[in-house]
């Protein structure tokens, strides 16, 4: 039986109390936190072009169909 005792003592349990971590996660509930990536100049340009196109083109849906995007 000494070997089995040895195995138990050689595998220590978590050194710290993990309850505070679990409690924090429980308080958070099932909420999903969305973290959006920082908006760079490429993303800003793409959005400006998209919004500008929609504003300038008289019939955006027909335009998108003509472009093969819809």
């Amino acid at each position: 039986m000494r070997t089995l005792g040895l195995i138990r003592t050689a595998t220590p349990p978590p050194a710290r109390d993990l309850w505070p971590r679990l409690r924090a996660r429980l308080r958070d509930g099932d909420r999903v936190h969305l973290r959006l990536p920082a908006l760079g100049w490429r993303e800003a340009t793409a959005m400006a072009v998209a919004l500008g196109t929609l504003a300038v083109v008289p019939n955006p849906v027909r335009f998108l169909i003509a472009c093969g995007l819809l």
């Binding site: 070997t3 040895l6 195995i7 003592t9 595998t11 349990p13 978590p14 993990l18 679990l22 996660r25």
Partner: protein, 181 residues
Amino acid sequence: MPVVPEPSDEALFAAYRAGDAPAFEILFHRYQPSLGRHLTRMLGDPAAAEDLVVETFLRLHRHRDRWREGTPLRPWIFAIARNLARNRLRTERLWGWLPLGQAEDLREAPAAYDEVRRRVAAAFAELPAAQREACSLRLLGGLTLEEIARVTGAPAGTVKSRLFYGLRRLRALLADLSPDE
């Protein structure tokens, strides 16, 4: 003075489901050592084991309505932990294939282990996966043979055989560390 018996795991969980929040904390503290030890041995990484101890109880909380009163809780808790550990190991293997250069290794350095710990870890690593899991569940998780069968989904006879051969191998590998045996 009469000794008041401690409430069973099932009684604590039933109380938690009925709205007794502190019962969950008692249950968690009851399982943290054994679950932590078992997961440390299965993952070989104490930090990852801590994550999964927390995650296991988070799942237990989320799926608390699925538990049917009268069914034993311990096999269910260890089965949740088992699935999480398997997913983690699978993901680690996947990441291992990706050419990410030198990934930062946050695991405890082997040098930090003392000799006995290193030898025990090496002995477990030598066992086939099924034997390693059965031995860890028995020795570190404290599960009975029937509970191990429930957790792993293997017949009791198979679990018995895994334990027999696994423990025999562990004893042989660690014989020089406990010469009085």
